[in-house]
């Protein structure tokens, strides 16, 4: 097909949500320079408004299935699902940052523009249909995130976290690129759908170079998704980065990374499913066990959340393994897990922001002693999030875990389910440890709540969805099932 101006305009119309984000970034950066010095809270509201507008625009394209820009990007329901999820994550991060940014003296214009840049990178990742656009999206996200982690310039911990994040992210991009070059060498294609077509046309797909390329790809994305052994950056970055950035990193790149991983393993190399299902089942076991065992001995809540996040990735990988035999069931459970994980994983970071002031960050479990006396409501909200993370029935965390285990049972991965259940039991201990600290121990002096309207709204949304999705999960499971219908 000849590529002319009319086709180009049509393609640009399909990415109007991304265009809205780009325009918002430009407006924020210009206003940051042009506006007089002083309070620039307006910029935060502009970026929030831009995100919501982009989400609205994105909704108008729901149901369209089209490949655009000569097959570089694809607009489909799967991408739509993840785009909505990313907009939610970004909006929650921005709501949580509005007060926190002022507290830590962060330059507002740059901060909000970079959050949007990182979001833009992830949007490209989830709709990327060839390895080049996926790689570019990934790098845009990684570069923006590096700067976000380093934002507390005077703080040595933030510097160190940024250095570790940067070195490991470049390291993994190098490995990813080498993997891409090998896959390209064998198949002669960088488009995911063309790779799939090439592989399904071959008699014998077991080419050693292709296997090596695939392993390197899995390693490269492993950094984004944070499974063992590429998880080392997670706890350090969560501890060193500004708290709202840690909340953003705990979900955004993970969700986008999973979207890409699903697209690659389910579409491009589905013919190699025996190989990758073995690889992912081993990674799942190691990831959840190591994550949970290390989380047991953490005193810092941010590090605890980091290791618990690693363990959750292990559960999600279980769903991916099940998808080798039951694609529908497996992928639905994985993306539903990610969707509800948005709400109850950003939540605890919100509570940490709620408790921090100019001089002190309450990030140790000891700092939460007796929170129920000081502020019953915030202790209750934190308890809801923790119970959901632990997977206790009325909360959505239970439904999500149940779906994953059910998919794995159906695929007859009994040993994997057994290890998963033992791990959930271990995880119960460290989540309940925080609950015990809040409700049983005597309160410490100096614990103050620093609530702002925006943070309260963000927390209310997250609690609301955690409860709503737990009570009425069918609606959201239906949405997840709908969004993968055309992918598989």
């Amino acid at each position: 097909m000849q590529y002319n101006f009319v086709v180009l305009l049509g393609d640009i119309k399909q990415i109007s949500a991304e265009m809205v984000i780009i325009l918002t970034i430009v407006v924020i950066m210009l206003m940051d320079i042009l506006a007089p010095r002083g309070d620039k809270t307006l910029l935060a509201y502009i970026s929030l408004g831009g995100t919501l507008l982009a989400a609205l625009v994105c909704c108008t394209w729901n149901g369209v299935e089209q490949s655009i820009f000569s097959g570089a990007l694809v607009v489909d329901r799967f991408a739509f699902f993840f785009k909505l999820m990313l907009f939610t994550i970004t909006a929650l991060t921005q709501l949580m940052s509005i007060n926190y940014v002022k507290l830590r003296n962060i330059n507002r214009g740059e901060f909000h523009a970079l959050v949007l840049f990182a979001t833009l990178g992830m949007l490209i990742m989830v709709s990327g249909a060839d390895l080049l656009s996926i790689y570019l999206g990934l790098e845009l996200n990684a570069i923006a995130c590096c700067v976000l982690v380093a934002f507390l310039r005077q703080n040595v911990k933030s510097n160190e976290a940024a250095l570790k994040y940067f070195v490991l992210s470049l390291f993994s991009s190098g490995i990813l690129l080498y993997g891409i070059s090998l896959v390209y060498g064998v198949t002669g294609e960088i488009n995911i759908y063309k790779i799939a077509r090439y592989l399904s046309g071959q008699q014998n797909v077991s080419h050693p170079m292709l296997h090596l390329g695939l392993v390197l790809l899995v390693v490269g994305f492993g950094f984004k998704v944070a499974y063992v052994p590429f998880h080392m950056w997670v706890p350090d970055v969560y501890e060193g980065a500004p708290i709202s950035v840690a909340a953003f990193l705990s979900l955004g790149p993970k969700a986008a990374g999973f979207a890409v991983l699903v697209r690659i393993v389910m579409v491009a190399v589905f013919t190699l499913k025996v190989e990758w299902s073995i690889l992912f089942s081993l990674l799942a076991v190691v990831t959840m066990t190591l994550g949970n065992l290390t989380a047991l001995c953490q005193e810092n809540i941010r590090r605890l959340l980091a290791y618990s996040g690693i363990a959750h990735v292990g559960y999600m990988l279980m769903g991916l393994v099940a998808a080798a035999n039951y694609p529908q069931l497996g992928i639905t459970s994985v993306i539903f897990y990610l969707l509800c994980y948005v709400f109850f994983n950003i939540g605890p970071f919100g509570i940490i922001i709620l408790l921090c002031n100019k001089h002190k960050i309450c990030e140790f479990i000891g700092d939460f002693d007796g929170l129920s006396v000081r502020s019953p409501l915030s202790a209750f909200v934190m308890t809801i999030f923790l119970l959901s993370l632990a997977g206790i029935p009325p909360m959505v965390g239970f439904v999500a875990k149940f779906l994953i285990f059910m998919a794995a049972m159906k695929a007859e991965l009994y040993w994997l389910v057994a290890i998963g259940i033992i791990n959930s039991a271990i995880a119960m201990f460290y989540y309940l440890r925080i609950v015990v600290a809040m409700y049983v121990r005597a309160p410490k002096p100096g614990l103050k709540i620093n609530a702002s309207p925006s943070l309260t709204i963000a927390l209310a949304i997250m609690v609301g969805f955690t409860l709503l999705m737990g009570i009425y999960p069918a609606l959201f499971i239906g949405f997840a099932r709908y969004s993968i219908a055309t992918l598989l």
């Binding site: 790098e139 700067v147 040595v156 510097n159 190098g174 070059s181 060498g185």
Partner: protein, 100 residues
């Protein structure tokens, strides 16, 4: 005419040198250079494959790649400079505030 295999051997060697360098070098700047070496190894193999297969995609990929590597370098050096201002050292073993 140099065959594809030689290019691949060189690129694999470069990649391994970079990989090992990242793991054993102690100076941040050296680590950073080894990372760049890894990226360039991938570039070399992309271009070699592109020539061998007679399709242009690998070369396009490489051009984008060089641009991305430049952007990464800017951010990376900025982070190293801000670290140096606060701590006045460049040995990776000394950056041990965050562990476990």
């Amino acid at each position: 005419m140099i065959s594809l295999n030689w290019y691949l051997v060189v690129s694999a060697l470069l990649f391994c040198i970079g990989l090992i360098g990242v793991l054993v070098k102690r100076n941040v700047i050296m680590v950073f250079l080894c990372l760049e070496l890894m990226l360039n190894a991938a570039n070399l193999s992309l271009v070699a494959f592109s020539d061998y297969l007679g399709n242009i995609q690998g070369q396009i990929f490489t051009i984008f790649n060089i641009t991305v590597a430049a952007a990464e370098a800017v951010v990376g050096l900025a982070i190293i400079i801000s670290l140096y201002r606060n701590r006045a050292m460049t040995n990776v073993d000394d950056f041990n505030l965050l562990k476990w």
